[in-house]
Symmetry: C2
Subunit: 122 residues, 2 copies
């Protein structure tokens, strides 16, 4: 199991939680300490600390050190592998769909050419 695979595992899993997605959306506006992040939620401070840890282990955020504060910062580039993965197969399926569509259009036209003759046979 490749490292990038595991990284995708963690990144997708991290974003599967609404609280963590909300944290990400707030961090996109500005960096924040764990305390600031925890403030609006109705769960313990430690629970949010855990959520941040999950995001950090997924590589989506980084933490620096400022005295006893631990400001959290969004790691923008870490989101790219996810969109690249999704878009790759999205595109592949899209192309397959278009090919199938084109094939059906040609078949329909063939039917249009052929059907009158077939109907004369029966």
């Amino acid at each position: 199991m490749g490292d990038s695979t595991q990284q995708l595992d963690r990144a997708f899993a991290a974003l599967a939680d609404p609280t963590r997605r909300d944290i990400v959306s707030r961090l996109s506006v500005s960096d924040a300490t764990v305390g600031e992040l925890a403030e609006p939620y109705d769960v313990s401070f430690q629970a949010i600390s855990k959520h941040v840890k999950v995001l950090e282990e997924a590589g989506l955020v980084t933490r620096s050190k400022d005295a006893q504060r631990r400001p959290v910062h969004l790691n923008r580039e870490a989101f790219d592998p996810m969109t690249e993965w999704i878009e790759r197969y999205r595109r592949e399926a899209e192309e397959r769909y278009r090919r199938l569509d084109a094939l059906l259009a040609r078949t329909a036209q063939d039917d249009g050419d052929r059907r009158p003759a077939e109907e004369q046979e029966s």
Copy 2:
């Protein structure tokens, strides 16, 4: 908790598993039955059936009926909310970064204009 929120929960969670991602990648090439999907993996057939169910509940695939077969089909559009979500905050963070960058550049230039004067003061 909005419905779209829950849908994102399920979609991200569904892609957090490497086996399920592999299933998606194969479905991007062609539709397949559960049996065909299960064949290459070293787990029970039922385990793959469960994985497909998770993908289905996330809206990422649909199943039709063909006799006793249940062909699985990739639901291309269902991937869009994820990329939109990611790209939205990705972009937001990117813009913030550029603003900060521009601010720092201006500050550096101000320093460049001011420093000689300040140095004359000291």
